[in-house]
């Protein structure tokens, strides 16, 4: 008798506790931040910026992330959780820019404001607004810089490309093709990496955006052509890995490494001469403006506006380098360190 009573009370208590934890209820205006991963310092900084702004404006923020760069299912699950919890707005950095579109549509149909941060969806109109760096411009700046820095050698350069992966992610494509345009290569279809036939391109290899991948990709490209003298890297961790590969064969002085991100470790690498120049992005700004937009939408239903002349809200990009060249606007590493993140 007492055993049965004990079991009943325990299970009732467990049920009550589980109901408490079941659906995340929002207190007041609810917002969700869904990043690609929570391990890349870029997204860690974004989360910090969003949390700070949310606290300031009294917005209840819940943060989710995929397991790794490319995990679409994790992000789909997070969006569905937010719809069920009654969020007013979702900020998302999509891992698969095409596959997540139907789920985003579901959220928008439920009256939620969806803002894509850093990486535009494909098509870009799938989100209410995109707040991002102009990734094409980011690539263009470093490509133009590389061309000017090489001078006469630019016409016969050997260029390697260290991308994220084979999936033609928008941010990857924009930076890669932007670099080529800046360098003066005919990019043919700007939405596709790999359809170019310029003889100066040694090849594309894949890093997954981390230093291990960067090292392996650099080794593979060196195998194809040991005379590489310029590389485009998708981000600074990949660039750091590429540098290690070059150092191991004693070629670190002969290759100009260009990158994108502008994180503090990356700017320090520019200062140390490891990276020739990097396009700096501002994730804190993306996050805080996103939260502001959600708060505004909750108040009066108004949606944020695009930057003039573009189909997204440009949060700005600056080329950080200590060796400026004529014709390409840049800031030095001192200023870069003041503005850096991570």
């Amino acid at each position: 008798m007492s055993f049965k009573y004990g079991m009943l009370t325990t299970s009732a208590a467990a049920l009550a506790v589980s109901v408490l934890f079941a659906a995340p209820a929002f207190a007041g205006v609810g917002a969700c931040l869904i990043t690609k991963t929570d391990t890349n310092p870029f997204f860690v900084k974004m989360k910090e910026g969003a949390t700070a702004k949310a606290k300031e404006l009294g917005v209840d923020l819940k943060a989710y992330a995929g397991k790794d760069d490319g995990d679409n299912e994790g992000q789909v699950a997070a969006v569905e959780t937010c719809i069920a919890a009654g969020a007013k707005g979702i900020l998302i950095t999509p891992s698969d820019t095409k596959a997540i579109v139907p789920t985003i549509k579901k959220a928008r149909d439920a009256g939620i404001l969806v803002i894509a941060l850093d990486t535009p969806l494909d098509p870009i109109e799938s989100a209410d607004m995109t707040m991002a760096t102009d990734n094409f411009q980011a690539g263009f700046l470093i490509g133009a810089y590389a061309k000017a820095a090489l001078g006469d050698k630019a016409a016969s350069a050997h260029i390697g490309f260290l991308d994220i992966n084979t999936k033609q992610v928008t941010v990857d494509v924009l930076r890669d093709q932007g670099f080529m345009k800046g360098f003066g290569i005919d990019i043919k279809n700007p939405a596709v990496i790999g359809d170019e036939d310029d003889k100066r391109i040694v090849g594309h290899d894949y890093t997954n955006g981390n230093p291990e991948g960067g090292r392996k990709a650099m080794e593979n490209l060196l195998q194809k052509d040991p005379d590489i003298n310029v590389i485009h890297t998708i981000n600074e961790p990949a660039a750091a890995g590429a540098y290690e590969a070059l150092k191991a064969v004693g070629k670190e002085k002969q290759v100009l490494i260009m990158s994108v991100d502008g994180g503090c470790p990356g700017v320090k690498n520019v200062q140390a001469g490891i990276i020739g120049g990097t396009s700096q992005q501002y994730p804190l700004l993306m996050a805080s403006m996103g939260i502001e937009a959600i708060a505004q939408f909750a108040k009066d239903g108004s949606k944020p506006k695009v930057t003039e002349g573009k189909n997204f809200f440009d949060t700005g990009v600056n080329l950080v380098t200590d060796k400026p060249v004529a014709g390409v606007k840049s800031i030095d590493t001192k200023e870069g360190l003041a503005k850096c993140w991570g």
């Binding site: 929570d38 084979t166 291990e212 392996k216 195998q223 191991a248």
Partner: protein, 364 residues
């Protein structure tokens, strides 16, 4: 009547006339019916007795094949030593995985143990200011502890190794991210303050080939394990536990203690791999080693080591790892879509297991 002396009597024993026909019949005591072996069966027997033969043959054939296909670029000392460099970490983790798989277990947490130990080595040096050698030892301790936990769960609580290491993989990985707070320690900082951590990144140039200390360490480790597994009692006991734990127990092998030792040593080897990894990528990064567990299992399986335990040579594992490296680099130099590499590795895995099953059918 003469009394016969000895069973293997060659001289005719019969004295009576009617017994003389017996002299022409078979004089030997019980023997097996040895039929003449066909060439295929001879091959099967040869492969059965030499456990690392199959992967070695495949390796030599694939190097020769890609050399013909791709040409000079592939056969250069630089390219071949590059394969070794790219495969070094997988090789060391594969050695840890070999020990566990030989006991009919499996360890999915090898990558997570490697990264956690690497983070401990880095953070202890930079966050707490400990001298680098002490941090390295702490990293080893961390790896051994993680392995010991795996071993205790498998042997004392008798939980299936697949389930145990599936759980501990998640636990160690999350512990890694929580402890490191996603901090990446820059290569230049490590070079300036604690160069011992990058020790295995150093290399020697020999006739155009670049041999890193990490590659040398991998080779030495594999040779050491080969010696232990084949020429020491402890090594024989590992095979016994994998092949038939009950028979081993009855023969006096302390099975639960052996399992704990095997998993602990496996964790220690993974911690060593973490040290070598710092040398390879320069920085201490919590996102490294994502697929190390799958890659190590692939190397072990292609190397002809049976997942059912008790059979296989650690040399086979290293050949298996090199085969994957040869295919990756060869196909990439040839210019094919990277997806073909994954497809062929899948085919290799199935082929290796099928051959292993065929070799096991040796009888007599």
């Amino acid at each position: 009547m003469r009394v016969p002396h000895g069973a293997s009597e060659e001289t005719p024993m019969s004295t009576q006339e009617f017994e003389k026909t017996l002299d022409k019949s078979d004089q030997s005591v019980a023997s097996f019916d040895r039929e003449k072996k066909s060439p295929v069966e001879k091959l099967q027997h040869a492969l059965h007795s030499s456990q690392a033969a199959v992967p070695l043959i495949v390796l030599v054939l694939s190097i020769a094949g890609f050399g013909i296909l791709v040409g000079q670029k592939f056969f250069s000392p630089f390219a071949l030593s590059l394969i070794l460099q790219q495969v070094a970490i997988t090789g060391i983790i594969g050695a840890a995985q070999t020990l566990v798989i030989l006991t009919a277990g499996i360890d999915l947490s090898v990558g997570a143990i490697m990264v956690l130990s690497m983070i401990v080595m880095g953070q202890f040096t930079f966050r707490y200011g400990l001298p680098a050698p002490v941090s390295v030892l702490c990293g080893f301790g961390c790896g051994a502890l993680c392995g010991w936990i795996n071993g205790m769960l498998v042997s004392r609580m008798k939980l299936p190794p697949f389930i145990v290491t599936l759980g501990t993989w998640q636990i160690y990985l999350a512990a890694n991210f929580i402890y490191s707070a996603n901090e990446t320690i820059r290569s230049q900082d490590i070079e300036a303050q604690a160069p011992l951590l990058q020790f295995f990144g150093g290399n020697v140039h020999i006739a155009g080939a670049i041999i890193t200390f990490g590659v040398m360490a991998m080779v030495l480790l594999v040779v050491l394990l080969w010696y232990i597994l084949n020429y020491t009692a402890w090594g024989r006991h590992v095979y016994a536990v994998g092949d038939d734990p009950d028979a081993a127990e009855l023969s006096g092998v302390p099975v639960p203690r052996m399992l704990v030792q095997v998993y602990t040593i496996s964790g220690l080897i993974c911690a060593f791999a973490g040290w070598v990894l710092i040398g390879r990528i320069g920085s201490v990064s919590p996102t490294a080693g994502e697929f190390a567990n799958i890659e190590s299992i692939t190397a072990v399986v292609i190397g002809g080591i049976s997942l059912f335990g008790g059979r296989g040579s650690v040399l086979g594992m290293i050949f298996g790892a090199m085969i994957v490296g040869v295919f990756s680099l060869g196909l990439r130099l040839y210019g094919t879509d990277p997806q073909w590499t994954y497809l062929l590795i899948g085919v290799l895995i199935i082929g290796a297991v099928a051959i292993d099953q065929w070799i096991r059918k040796v009888a007599g």
